[in-house]
């Protein structure tokens, strides 16, 4: 699923290391989303584009506000720009800001940390959602809720959301169970919850929290952000690993431990995927080297399925 899509991701998408050179999350979001949408128009993925916006010939009685005058200028015909989505969906972006999200393995200084990547992704999704005239909200959490911005659909609100993202810094240890329960309780209005985290926590506590969300009627989507080094554990030497959150140290013969690590990771992800699927939650793994477009694809797909 996610990895397959990642491998097929078009190369025209902007790489995360390039995004890091763009100052300001609003620009990042705009670049990603506009490029993504332009790509959709050229791509075979027509389903998303018609789902998003379509033209139809003008019929007398249509609101002139929706006439595409640019198209009229080009074609000398009147088209109405019709937005299908009039549901006013509420999306809540839940972004993990625990210290483990600050990890990056890349030797390139422009390679993003998981936290930065999560922020790019959240910003792009917020931009996309607002562009679709949906409401978007933001919640930052580690072991507790650090910041919460209620969902709104105005463009000015998007600026607020992005500002909050830019101003936040990494927090403490992660313990997702508690904040998930808390947030599930707070978000009374049904909506779309996108949780962006590395999910390196007790999987049972996470599942409990997610169940709580589902219980409240939210559609939930999980994006697990992992560094390539976490995905393939490419260490070889005798290494003393230090936990970014707890500060615990462990001497590990990396080459010898790789198999065990990969197996443990696979089990963890499999459990999370299985349990999520069992309660109707989409789970996507993203590498910090993957273009963000891939996550947007997944989001639109999930949103489309939900409306069906």
């Amino acid at each position: 699923m996610s990895t397959t899509h990642a491998q097929k991701a078009p190369t025209r998408f902007i790489r995360p290391d390039i995004l890091s050179r763009i100052s300001g999350l609003d620009l990042v979001a705009r670049s990603v989303v506009e490029g993504f949408i332009a790509g959709l128009h050229r791509s075979p993925y027509k389903g998303f584009s018609v789902d998003f916006m379509e033209y139809r010939p003008y019929i007398p009685g249509d609101d002139l506000m929706h006439v595409d005058w640019k198209a009229f200028a080009r074609t000398d015909r009147l088209f109405v720009k019709e937005f299908e989505d009039e549901t006013n969906t509420h999306m809540q972006l839940l972004v993990d800001v625990s210290r483990s999200m600050g990890y990056k393995s890349g030797t390139k200084p422009e390679s993003p940390t998981k936290f930065e990547y999560a922020m790019y992704l959240a910003a792009a999704m917020a931009y996309l959602v607002v562009r679709q005239r949906d409401a978007v909200g933001l919640t930052l959490f580690d072991s507790t809720v650090v910041k919460r911005v209620p969902a709104k659909s105005t463009k000015g609100h998007l600026v607020s959301v992005l500002r909050e993202m830019e101003n936040v810094s990494l927090g403490g240890e992660s313990a997702m169970g508690k904040p998930l329960h808390e947030l599930a309780e707070r978000h009374r209005r049904r909506g779309f919850a996108v949780i962006i985290s590395d999910f390196l926590d007790d999987v049972d506590a996470i599942i409990d929290g997610l169940k709580h969300f589902r219980f409240r009627g939210h559609d939930v989507m999980l994006f697990q952000i992992l560094d390539p080094a976490e995905l393939d554990f490419s260490f070889t030497d005798l290494t003393e690993f230090e936990d970014l959150e707890s500060g615990e140290r462990l001497i590990v013969d990396a080459a010898a431990a790789r198999t065990e690590y990969m197996e443990n990771l696979r089990r963890f992800q499999e459990t999370l995927r299985r349990e999520s699927a069992s309660i109707g939650i989409e789970y996507t793994v993203l590498s910090t080297q993957q273009p963000l477009d891939f996550a947007l694809f997944n989001y639109l797909g999930a949103r489309s399925r939900r409306r069906v």
Binding site: D198, D237, T239, L244, L250, A256, A257, N264
Partner: protein
């Protein structure tokens, strides 16, 4: 252990690279911040230790690979006598021929060719395998075997460093090569090798070697030593003559110097160590010089002719010894009437004209000649060198005793005849002298169609030797209208005969002198010989032969034997140029042989009563340093069918030992092996981890 490319050993420093990397990267656990340790567990301490041990092993193996490769490139080898099993070849019998002729003393930038040859000799000895047998031969124009076949390397090394003497001899390759073949005849091993270490002088390859080849199967290594471009100036030829002009004597030295370049140079003449003349010459090729030095004092003189020093100094001096003798005296006792009549002249007339041609310029003749009456024959003065007795009817007993006494003291008598002859009476005289048994006058036209001519002569005899060359046949032209036929007695040498078969010149030694029998007249009463062009040369040769008997040669070459005259048991003390004194004693023939002429220079031989100086000079052919190259030498010595490497073989020394052992191959294989082990170990370790 030695190395051919020792500079590659510097690459051994590369062994430090894996060690450094290891210490930098492996020995300490690298601290790395990681997002979460939830999927990891600490590696057991035992496993960490094992990992470290494996890393040390890998480090060692990697360092070993680099070290082995560095060693392989340095091409090491072990002294063959230490590790004969590594050579991979059979033992061989080796004859090492080392040239110690004087051309090997030519100095190059790295010392003399002989020094270089000794180094090569030592290298060859070092390169030999333990079981190889080696014989060493030093050679010049004769070969001297210094060792029998032996495996005692220490002995060989001692010989190589201390027993190769410098000589003043020339080179002849036939002798040493022949000796090498003889030595190899007693070899123990199937593999046979001759190593020729020499400057390969072209002059040493005599024509006798054209048809000489080594036996098939015998390896031949020519090793050329000495600088190829050595320039040497030397005496190509030197001729000495002491010329008499009246009472004065003049030493004339004519010489040729071979000069390799256009540089000017001086030639200096020294007599008794004192410079008396010098000439400046220049020009490439051959330069000619002549010294004329007054030699008024009679007796033996010694001197030197010197050239400016060059790369080969030994041949820059030519040693000379010359004799300024008294003016030879000739006495003619003629039975003819003085002066003769008409066209017929007596012997004394023609002899006087021959030996004293400048009538009226007395003293200009190189000879003192006097004509006396028969009375003088009874009291022949011992100071007279030669006496011509002509046209006497016979010889009285007193005259015979006088002749015998005079001859015994070294005098020389020539008997000739004429119309006064009493054949029977003279026959008796000849018998008493031991010359001939009968005598009768023969008129050839009565027995043959024409006059007699000289039919056959001994061309080797001193009298006729000069006429042996082109144009000398004119001596056979004179016609003899009459002559005296005799029957020679035993012990008489027949020097020449008429075409009738009768002898016309006989010689008999009496004491240290001689009596010669000339069968006709030395005037023109019986023959036209005196007016023949060959008459004067003939009588001069007679005089030289007569007066030269007691002179000994004074110029020799190095290695020549010197014959010192005397009687049985005569003891000569010979002082060499080095100051050594040798003793030579007269043998049964009275000749004392001196053979230690190994050094060029001036020698002096002396008895209590006599002193004979003489000079010994180098063989001048040896001074020409033009050399053959090794390929040419090889082709000249090895049978054509034997296809063996030439120059490569010649270069075999320590490198040969290295090439035989090929330790570098073992090292490369070892490096590959270690690399394979390292790869397997590293891969296996990785697999286990996975």
């Amino acid at each position: 252990m030695s190395f051919v490319n020792a500079f590659f050993l510097a690459a051994l420093g590369a062994m430090a690279i894996p060690v450094l990397l290891h210490f930098v990267r492996k020995m300490r656990a690298k601290p790395v911040a990681f997002s979460s340790l939830m999927f990891l567990r600490a590696t057991p301490q035992q496993q960490v230790k094992r990992r470290r041990l494996r890393d040390v092993l890998l480090m060692t193996l990697r360092a070993a690979v680099l070290g082995l490769l560095a060693l392989a490139f340095a091409r090491p080898f072990l002294p063959p006598d230490v590790v004969p099993f590594l050579t991979g070849e059979e033992n061989e019998s080796v004859v090492l021929l080392i040239d110690n002729s004087y051309s090997m003393l030519a100095e190059g930038s790295n010392g003399s060719a002989l020094d270089e040859a000794q180094s090569v000799l030592a290298e060859r000895i070092d390169a030999a395998q333990r079981g190889d047998e080696i014989a060493i031969v030093a050679f010049s124009d004769f070969a001297e075997q210094l060792t029998e076949f032996d495996s005692d390397r220490e002995l060989h090394r001692q010989i190589a460093t201390g027993s190769i003497e410098k000589t003043g001899r020339a080179t002849d390759y036939l002798d040493p090569l022949g000796l090498a073949v003889d030595i190899l005849g007693s070899s123990q091993h199937k593999q046979k090798r001759v190593v020729l270490i020499s400057d390969m002088q072209r002059a040493g390859w005599s024509g006798a070697l054209d048809n000489w080849k080594l036996e098939p199967g015998v390896s031949f290594d020519p090793v050329r030593v000495g600088a190829a471009d050595t320039l040497n100036r030397y005496f190509q030829d030197v001729q000495l003559r002491v010329r008499r002009a009246g009472d004065d004597a003049l030493l004339q030295v004519d010489g040729l110097v071979s000069s390799p370049d256009d540089t000017g140079f001086d030639v200096e003449l020294l007599v008794a160590g004192i410079p008396v003349d010098d000439i400046s010459l220049s020009g490439r090729g051959t330069a000619r010089f002549t010294f004329r030095h007054p030699a008024s004092r009679t007796g033996y003189h010694q001197g030197e002719i010197r050239l400016d020093a060059d790369a080969l100094t030994i041949d820059d001096t030519f040693y000379v010894t010359y004799l300024v003798d008294e003016k030879p005296s000739i006495l003619v006792i003629d039975g003819s009437s003085r002066g003769g009549t008409g066209l017929i002249r007596p012997d004394s007339y023609f002899l006087d004209k021959a030996f004293a041609p400048g009538v009226g310029t007395a003293g200009s003749s190189p000879y003192d000649i006097s004509v006396r009456g028969r009375a003088q024959l009874r009291a022949l003065p011992s100071s007279t060198d030669i006496v011509f007795v002509s046209n006497l009817p016979s010889l009285s007993s007193a005259e015979l005793r006088s002749i015998e006494r005079y001859a015994a003291q070294g005098g020389n008598v020539v008997l000739s005849f004429g119309n006064n002859l009493d054949a029977d009476a003279y026959a008796q005289s000849l018998r008493e002298l031991g010359l001939a048994s009968t005598a009768s006058v023969v008129i050839p036209r009565q027995v043959q169609s024409g006059h007699a001519i000289i039919g056959q002569v001994d061309w080797r005899h001193e009298v006729f030797a000069p006429f042996a060359g082109p144009g000398g046949g004119a001596i056979l032209k004179p016609e003899f209208r009459r002559y005296v036929r005799v029957q020679p007695l035993d012990g008489v040498d027949i020097v020449g005969t008429f075409d009738t078969g009768d002898p016309f010149l006989l010689e008999k030694q009496i004491g240290s002198g001689s009596v010669m029998f000339f069968a006709s007249t030395l005037g023109n009463s019986w023959t036209d010989f005196p007016i023949n062009e060959m008459f004067v040369p003939f009588v001069y040769q007679l005089a030289r032969h007569a007066t030269g008997d007691d002179q000994v040669p004074v110029m020799y070459g190095v290695g020549e034997n010197v014959a010192l005259p005397g009687s049985v048991g005569t003891t000569w003390d010979v002082q060499t140029p080095n100051g050594q004194v040798f003793r030579a004693t007269g043998d049964s023939s009275g000749t004392a042989w001196f053979t230690a002429t190994d050094v060029a220079g001036n020698y002096v031989a002396a008895t209590t009563a006599r002193r004979i100086p003489f000079s010994v000079n180098l063989d001048r052919r040896e001074s020409d340093l033009e050399a053959r190259d090794e390929a040419e030498v090889y082709a000249g010595v090895v049978p054509p069918a034997v296809d063996q490497p030439v120059v490569e073989e010649a270069a075999v020394t320590v490198k040969a030992a290295e090439e035989r052992q090929k330790l570098w191959r073992l090292l490369v294989v070892a490096a590959l092996l270690v690399f394979g082990i390292e790869t397997v170990l590293a891969h296996r370790g990785g697999k286990q981890k996975q």
